[in-house]
């Protein structure tokens, strides 16, 4: 079972926190569509005989695609790949693109899951982030989508914004609660290189939130999720029972995936490929049927480190039996030995023969993962 990711790199404007690859050259969309269709055909063999269980339109802004373009891409996938019955097909959309008309048309496609980039219900926060929608559009887009029959809707929120008060954060969560969606992705703002936020932070125009406030918001989120039957199945992802993102779960469960489009990543257990983060390089290369991607062959320690950093992010945790089966007894003992201090400090706990991050541990998960990783000489 594998997934296909389609990257639509166009944005009308750049959000100030975002470092995913995007471009404002929307007029090149027709060229891109041709390249995407061509790449889908060229890379049929990547996944082998496996069936496709999830399809994900991400970006950028997939909601800039016309219904025809969406259908062309999906048709090509169905033609070239063995798609299971009832696949999960997710479409990322900005609230301002989800007009009544567009939602009606989307509801007639095979798309069955919407991921709506709301980020906040406060207009000044939205402006700070350079989002194009407002509170009303955000709320309406969800309500209308439900009216058109979408029963699997996810919304994105960002917390830890500069000056975000706990009251505001509570209010954001309250609105999500009232909208009766099935899934929430809630990310703490990170200041990524090259983003406007990072530049402003360096200049001192933005002061990152205090650590205490940041922890408080995260704790609030976790408590809120428990009250509202959202299961925190991954550090930043919360779903109602049986509404976890299957596509994203693939990433965390070492399942194969094919990434189509500029900057998209593909993975087949032993290798990871990524396309250039450059529209022209991507289109020109694909149209000439050249291999445009960069490639990384994963060593044993790479594989172990990836298992570690993905599995620990999930509710299931890092299964010791799996570590032993896949990497041997020594690696398992290394893990047990190094994780002991975190178990003692209650940042990790053992459950069903798996190491799982506690709530306290989640706060410092990067440090814990880094500590447990294998680098160079440790492997032998």
């Amino acid at each position: 079972m594998s997934g296909i990711y389609i990257h639509i790199p166009f944005c009308r404007q750049r959000c100030h926190y975002c470092d995913f690859y995007s471009t404002t050259q929307i007029k090149r969309k027709p060229e891109l569509i041709l390249a995407l269709l061509s790449e889908l055909e060229q890379r049929k063999d990547w996944i082998g005989e496996e069936t496709i269980r999830t399809i994900y339109f991400g970006g950028g802004t997939p909601s800039l695609l016309s219904i025809d373009e969406i259908n062309q891409i999906l048709d090509s996938i169905y033609l070239n790949y063995n798609v299971v019955e009832n696949p999960e097909i997710t479409f990322e959309a900005n609230p301002d693109d989800l007009t009544e008309k567009q939602l009606r048309l989307l509801s007639e496609t095979r798309i069955n899951r919407l991921s709506i980039g709301i980020q906040s219900f406060f207009n000044d926060d939205l402006q700070l982030m350079n989002r194009r929608h407002d509170r009303e559009q955000a709320i309406n887009s969800v309500k209308m989508a439900q009216e058109f029959g979408f029963k699997n809707i996810s919304v994105d929120l960002i917390f830890g914004l500069p000056n975000l008060s706990i009251e505001r954060w509570n209010e954001n969560l309250k609105i999500v609660e009232s909208l009766n969606v099935q899934h929430l992705s809630a990310y703490h703002l990170t200041y990524e290189k090259g983003t406007v936020f990072e530049i402003k932070r360096k200049k001192g125009e933005i002061t990152p939130i205090m650590e205490e406030a940041s922890i408080m918001q995260f704790k609030t989120l976790i408590a809120w999720a428990k009250q509202n039957n959202f299961i925190q199945y991954e550090i930043s992802n919360f779903g109602k029972e049986s509404f976890f993102s299957q596509h994203n779960s693939n990433y965390w469960n070492q399942k194969k995936y094919l990434g189509i489009g500029p900057s998209a990543h593909s993975y087949n257990i032993d290798t990871r490929l990524w396309n250039p983060s450059n529209l022209s390089m991507y289109i020109n290369g694909i149209m000439k049927k050249q291999a445009v991607y960069e490639k990384e062959i994963l060593s044993e320690s790479d594989k172990y480190n990836e298992l570690l950093i993905t599995a620990l992010r999930t509710k299931r945790g890092l299964n010791l039996a799996q570590v032993e089966a896949q990497f041997g007894n020594r690696v398992k003992h290394h893990l047990l030995h190094n994780s002991q201090k975190f178990v003692e400090s209650k940042k990790l706990y053992l459950k069903d023969n798996a190491l799982v991050l506690s709530d306290e541990g989640v706060f410092v998960s990067d440090a814990i993962m880094a500590e447990l990783m294998l680098v160079e000489e440790e492997i032998d």
Partner: protein, 595 residues
């Protein structure tokens, strides 16, 4: 012999010594155009880069005038305070000195102290005003300074420019006319002064010598007076651009002697060489067994490089007999070496040469001076390391080395400079107005006070204009204590230092603050404490990280997150573990620069 002229050059860093020397070599056709490279004498990369001379060099030139052939030996001397003994030995090998002063800058402290050395040795001084081609030259003012200083005739000062070649002919004339021929008696037993030595991987240690009396022939059996060792003079010769063997070196000659010596310690600068069968009656005056005065631990960053580090230091020592080392170990840094240096610049040079010539990454610990501990039994124990201090009950008293410090600066800065020196326990000796607005002050100061950020402060106070020189004087009783730094209650040996009690509170407090900046937050609170004995005198806390904002792991780009965390882990691995605290390497160095 009457046509030999042995001379050295006295100049401040950047006053154009090497460029002018290059001009002399060209003028006498010693260096062909083909071999010409900037600063022929400074052949060590580091010397060229810093524009300073670390080792002594010598080069022989021929010059003919009115049918008379002259042999001119230029002995280039090290130009830094740390090497004042070496300078004095080079000066002792000469009869004349070119005093080069930058016409745009005037006389500097270091020039003066070397000049005094030259005058003490009765050298004929030829004053030269260099960089006369520059618009900013102030010949009248600087000439006044020179006349004041050496009492020469104004007309004796040669105006020159190494850059344009101006005055070079006049300098050559002056060397031939004014520098006396070497004295000494060719009929006396062989007696030669060692003014430097170099290591050659094929020939062993090569001694640079000046024959004071008698002669030495290839194959002679010679004796080094101070070490008492005897060798065969396998080869003798003169120092041209390369070494040129000669059958004999005679009275007044400057040259080299090779005798297959393998350890640099056997060839001591200042030692006397004589003939075994027909020895000289006395050794040449002024020999000193120079002892290192500043000590610091040098540790490999990667503990596995310990043996490589040893081999590298051993090799360095071949060319640098004043460097000493012995193994030591530290709980925080593992195995390394306690190294002794002549001074701070010497320490810096050794560190840089280890890096450049041997590709060794090292951590250097807080340096300290050599203390004399007098025990209650009356024994004298030299202490080079804070951990080597005997227990308090055994100590009668401790002595620390003092220096005579000399600073020349513009008068505007002198108030602040005096304050700095007094803060550093200096005792004002003299204050002299040189010329115009230049002032010379001299102080008696403990050497240990210049080990901690003295140069940097002096530079910043004087906007870089003050020049500083010192020589060691004697040991004086001092109230010293051992300052320890504790991380979560555990003492970090590599951060301990011995210092005057009056400084301990201030430095302890500053060290804690500095370490707080340098030690990254970890998963628990870290208490940084400064202590004297069991008494805590300062404390800072590095608060625990309570939240790291987890980078997203999204869109399938797991590689990036993995690499990010791998990098984080590798960074941690390079840190030193003190108890449960991880300390970055730079913390061990940066405490030297407190403020």
């Amino acid at each position: 012999m009457e046509n030999i002229r042995n001379f050295c050059i006295i100049a401040h860093i950047d006053h154009g010594k090497s460029t002018l020397a290059d001009r002399l070599l060209q003028e006498t056709n010693t260096v062909s155009e083909r071999d010409r490279q900037e600063q022929v004498l400074d052949d060590m990369e580091l010397e060229r880069e810093r524009g300073i001379t670390i080792k002594s060099h010598a080069i022989q030139m021929d010059h003919e005038r009115d049918g008379k052939k002259y042999v001119l030996n230029l002995i280039d001397t090290p130009g830094h305070v740390d090497f004042s003994y070496e300078v004095s030995r080079s000066i002792a090998a000469c009869e004349g000195a070119l005093l080069i002063i930058d016409a745009t800058q005037g006389i500097q402290a270091q020039t003066i102290s070397n000049l005094y050395l030259a005058i003490e040795h009765d050298l004929e001084i030829i004053p030269i005003l260099n960089k006369m081609d520059l618009a900013s030259a102030m010949p009248d003012e600087v000439k006044d300074q020179i006349v004041d200083l050496i009492g020469c005739d104004r007309d004796d000062i040669i105006e020159a420019s190494g850059k344009t070649g101006m005055g070079v002919g006049l300098i050559l004339e002056a060397i031939m006319d004014r520098v006396p021929a070497p004295k000494g008696d060719p009929k006396e037993p062989f007696q030669a002064l060692i003014f430097d030595s170099v290591f050659n991987s094929f020939r062993g240690i090569i001694a640079y010598i000046k024959v004071m009396n008698g002669e030495v022939r290839k194959g002679d059996l010679v004796k080094f007076v101070n070490t008492g060792k005897e060798y065969n003079a396998d080869e003798v010769g003169v120092l041209r651009l390369t070494q040129e063997a000669r059958p004999v070196l005679r009275t007044g000659d400057v040259g080299y002697l090779i005798s297959g010596i393998k350890t640099s310690k056997e060839v001591k600068v200042g030692d006397t060489i004589t003939n075994v069968k027909n020895p000289c009656k006395t050794a040449i005056d002024g020999f000193e067994d120079v002892k290192p005065m500043v000590f610091a631990g040098i540790y490999p960053i990667d503990p596995e490089d310990y043996e490589d580090l040893r081999a590298s230091i051993e090799k360095l020592q071949l060319n640098d007999a004043s460097l000493t080392f012995e193994p030591e170990s530290s709980a925080a840094l593992g195995f390394g070496f306690r190294c002794g240096f002549l001074g701070l610049l010497h320490m810096e040079i050794v560190q840089e040469r280890l890096d450049r010539e041997f590709d060794m990454d090292v951590i250097t610990t807080v340096p300290n001076v050599s203390f004399n501990v007098i025990t209650k039994k009356g024994d004298l124990v030299e202490v080079h390391n804070p951990s080597g201090l005997p227990t308090e009950t055994m100590i009668d008293y401790i002595e620390e080395p003092y220096i005579h410090a000399q600073i020349i600066s513009r008068a505007d800065y002198i108030g602040q400079i005096m304050k700095l020196c007094i803060d550093k326990r200096g005792e004002l000796k003299t204050q002299v107005y040189l010329t115009g607005n230049r002032v010379e002050v001299t102080f008696n100061m403990p050497l240990s006070e210049i080990v901690f950020d003295f140069y940097d402060k002096l530079k910043s106070i004087s906007k870089g204009y003050a020049s500083f020189d010192y020589y060691r004087t004697d040991f004086k009783r001092a109230t010293l204590c051992k300052l320890d730094i504790l991380l979560n209650g555990e003492s970090v040996d590599a951060l301990s230092s011995l210092m005057h009690t009056s400084n301990a509170y201030e430095i302890g407090r500053k060290m804690c603050i500095k370490l707080k900046e340098l030690i990254p937050r970890q998963q628990f609170d870290i208490a940084i404490q400064a202590a004297i004995g069991s008494k805590i005198i300062a404390r800072e806390t590095v608060k625990a990280v309570r939240k790291d904002v987890t980078a997203k792991c999204y869109g399938g780009d797991i590689t990036r997150k993995r690499k990010l965390l791998e990098k984080q882990k590798k960074g941690k691995k390079r840190m030193r573990q003190v108890g449960n605290v991880e300390v970055p390497q730079k913390a061990f160095l940066a405490v030297l620069k407190l403020d």
